[in-house]
């Protein structure tokens, strides 16, 4: 024990010596280094950063193919950006702003603040009372209003007095307490004031370069190496940094270095105005493609109407529908048809209506029971029409009942819970899931599998297809759902559009192969060819 303690003591002493030595060495090294630097490079001789070269070829123009409110600025890099003194770290985009713009922005902020406050105190008495206290103490509610009042003293028509706000607020609170319809405090004068300030802008911007009424302000930054910047805003005049159209703007670029005080300004470009375009020329390739597709569709629809036999390859899932209906008839069990969670405007739901029509017709012919629980009330209304028409077409209108197609709920998992209950209680012989499905796909299909039903599914929601694959007997993948509706319906419009789609796919396939060959053999032509497909919507 004693020897152990002695060993411990000795090791601690050794550690202490080691640490002290290290400290001593590092102190001596730093001292030497300091001495060296003191002797070799005096502090006053540290080279200052030289002013960088300015940008050249500065251009500002209205951004093309947009909704307006955007100016594009392009320039050639400073000679010191990545070369020369390599001192450039960024470019600051400066725009000439009249001082009145500050007032517009402040008015916008005040307006937003006041309106948010009004929205709040319209709902709750405590908030309304709190706001009243703020008005009575003058902070901060009244400050927001007083700014708007103070901007133009001559214009007295917009004056909002504290008495006005106070009285209106008191009336509102009293009405709320008496449970009467709440008096609205909309402060209509505030938006009017903001708009009146906004109208001043064109005239004020037109006064460039009067230094007494404006200055250059930063509107964005680009890092070194970048040669363009888009100065843009949203269309809403109350959005941050809103850029009104048809106003003369002037820009310059400041080249920045690591020293904030050392920067070089460029020449000034302008005036330039922003405006929106009626025609987006960037979408011309899409227009051409859609026109070609439309023409193909019209041709094939006409051919189908004339009775031309348009071949569509059989789809296993659809071939199985008739078999499944027959099975349900033999077993004396119902058929469950689920249209999914899509709205009536979704393409998958529309395709599903066609398939439902076919299933309902067969059901009417075989006198089998059909159950269509719906998630969306509008889908339910359309599905009722579809099933009713199918029963009439089958010559059995008396067999149709409105409750074949019924509404469950608009809540995803409540709907799933109800449909699962239907599956386990009714034990349908066949479950058909066609349309738009989301997280409920596996829950439905798995329950159907447990109930021993034959299951046929189809959706264009790619992430859900794997779940249908594992739990259903037949699955239609994506576009097969649309093809199925054409295959079953045999309507000229559907067949024609399916054929047109096939030809469009063939054109795209050929384009891809041509493009790949071109870009690998003649890169220049290949890039041009590729650019026709790179469209920004």
């Amino acid at each position: 024990m004693r020897s152990y303690l002695e060993k411990m003591k000795a090791s601690r002493v050794l550690l202490l010596v080691l640490v002290c030595s290290l400290l001593l060495v590092s102190f001596s090294t730093s001292l030497l280094a300091q001495t060296d630097s003191d002797t070799d490079t005096p502090a006053d001789s540290i080279p200052a950063i030289a002013a960088p070269a300015q940008v050249t070829d500065l251009k500002a123009f209205d951004t093309d193919n947009d909704h307006g409110h955007s100016i594009t600025i392009e320039w050639t890099l400073s000679a010191d950006d990545g070369a020369g003194a390599k001192s450039v770290i960024s470019y600051e985009i400066m725009r000439w702003e009249p001082f009145v713009r500050d007032s517009v922005m402040a008015a916008r902020d005040s307006l937003g603040w006041v309106q948010a406050r009004i929205n709040k105190f319209e709902k709750e008495i405590p908030l309304a009372e709190e706001s009243l206290d703020e008005v009575l103490t003058g902070q901060p509610f009244l400050d927001s209003l007083s700014f708007l009042v103070a901007y133009d003293e001559k214009d007295t028509s917009f004056v909002l007095t504290s008495e006005y706000v106070d009285k209106t607020l008191r009336d509102t609170i009293a009405a709320m307490k008496r449970d009467l319809p709440v008096l609205k405090v909309r402060a209509p004068l505030l938006p009017a004031r903001f708009d009146s300030l906004l109208i001043l802008l064109p005239k004020e911007y037109g006064k460039y370069p009067d230094a007494t009424i404006g200055r250059f302000d930063s509107v964005g930054t680009a890092v070194s190496g970048v040669t363009s910047h888009e100065n843009s805003s949203a269309v809403d005049s109350r959005s941050p940094g809103f850029i009104p159209d048809f106003i003369d703007y002037y820009y310059r670029i400041d080249v920045q270095t690591s020293d904030p005080n050392i920067r070089t300004t460029s020449e000034i470009v302008g005036p330039v105005q922003s405006s929106g375009q009626w025609f987006n020329s960037g979408l011309v390739p899409v227009l051409i493609a859609i026109l070609v597709f439309t023409i193909l569709t019209m041709i094939f629809v006409q051919l189908a109407k004339k009775g031309m036999d348009l071949y569509v390859r059989p789809l296993a899932g659809i071939e199985a529908v008739d078999e499944a209906i027959g099975r349900a008839t033999e077993m004396g069990r119902p058929i469950l048809y689920v249209l999914g969670l899509g709205s009536a405007a979704d393409i998958a739901t529309i395709a599903s209506f066609t398939i439902l029509g076919r299933v309902a017709k067969k059901v009417a012919e075989y006198q089998t029971e059909l159950n269509v629980p719906c998630y969306d009330p509008i889908v339910m209304a359309v599905a009722q029409e579809v099933v009713k028409s199918a029963f009439i077409d089958a010559g059995r209108p008396e067999a149709y009942k409105d409750d074949i197609v019924h509404f469950i709920t608009n809540s995803q998992f409540a709907y799933v819970g109800a449909v699962n209950g239907i599956i386990m209680r009714d034990l349908p012989a066949t479950n058909v899931y066609m349309g738009k499905f989301f997280a409920e796909s596996l829950i439905l299909a798995e329950t159907g599998a447990v109930a021993g039903s034959i299951q046929i599914a189809g959706t264009d929601e790619i992430p859900q297809i794997p779940f249908f694959f594992v739990a259903c007997d037949y699955t239609l993948i994506g576009e097969e759902l649309f093809a199925a509706s054409a295959y079953l319906g045999r309507e000229p419009e559907l067949l024609g559009s399916l054929k047109a789609q096939d030809y469009a796919k063939a054109v795209l396939l050929a384009s891809a192969i041509i493009g790949i060959l071109l870009i690998n053999i003649f890169p220049e032509y290949g890039e041009t060819f590729k650019s026709w497909f790179e469209v920004i919507d």
């Binding site: 348009l310 009536a344 209680r425 596996l442 297809i465 097969e480 795209l508 497909f533 790179e534």
Partner: protein, 214 residues
């Protein structure tokens, strides 16, 4: 009050889970409650958000009424004509407008993303070289080839005008394999996210309810 809420939530959670054993009265009660509450909730939400807030406050009581909202209101009323058999056909007009307008709005977007950009991104150099060294980057080159073969064979699979036989059929078969691999990856990914949902419920039962987990 919070304790009562937790107990109700726990009993309802167990009620829904009991379906894993078999359909039973507790599940039926939970299902009926869930469906009833959600249907009523959404009815109120739709009424307040659309009819009251959007239409009534926007087009009727507003200081500057938005008269365009009346078009929507009238179309909505037309939809109700299906309750009157003689003029029920009028309800197809708003439906036609919804379907037509949606199809038109989405057409360009789908064409750009599903057709044009897809092909644009497929057109690329088959052999990818490392920017710094100039040598062939085998990993990227393999990736490009996979994309190329996958897109082309996938397109062939979705060609409905020709039977899948011969070379065409073989190419479609390759497309099928690509689809299956994609679906497999997607399946695994989603199953893991579902597991996190289950963990959330178990965490609630063992933590908030039973206080076994802290």
């Amino acid at each position: 009050m919070e304790t009562v809420s937790i107990w109700i939530a726990a009993i309802l959670t167990l009620g829904i889970f009991s379906f894993l054993y078999k359909d039973n009265p507790l599940y039926k009660a939970c299902e009926a409650l869930f469906v009833g509450v959600s249907a009523a909730y959404w009815a109120i939400v739709f009424y307040f958000d659309n009819i009251y807030k959007k239409f009534y406050e926007g087009a009727v009581t507003a200081e500057e009424p938005d008269y365009f909202l009346w078009i929507g209101a009238i179309l909505g009323l037309l939809f109700l004509t299906r309750l009157i058999p003689n003029i029920g056909w009028v309800s197809r007009w708003p439906m036609a407008l919804i379907v037509g307008a949606t199809a038109g709005l989405w057409m360009v977007g789908y064409f750009v993303s599903n057709a044009m950009n897809q092909i644009g991104n497929t057109i690329s150099n088959i052999i990818v070289r490392d920017a710094a060294t100039g040598f062939i980057a085998w990993g990227e080159t393999f990736g490009t080839l996979v994309i190329l073969v996958g897109v082309l064979s996938g397109l062939v699979y979705f060609f409905f005008s020709k039977e899948h036989k011969g070379v065409f059929g073989a190419t479609a078969k390759v497309g099928t394999w690509f689809l299956m691999v994609t679906f497999g990856a997607s399946f695994g990914y989603t199953v893991m996210s579902r597991m996190s949902l289950l963990i959330g419920r178990v965490d609630f039962l063992l933590g908030d309810w039973l206080h076994i987990l802290r």
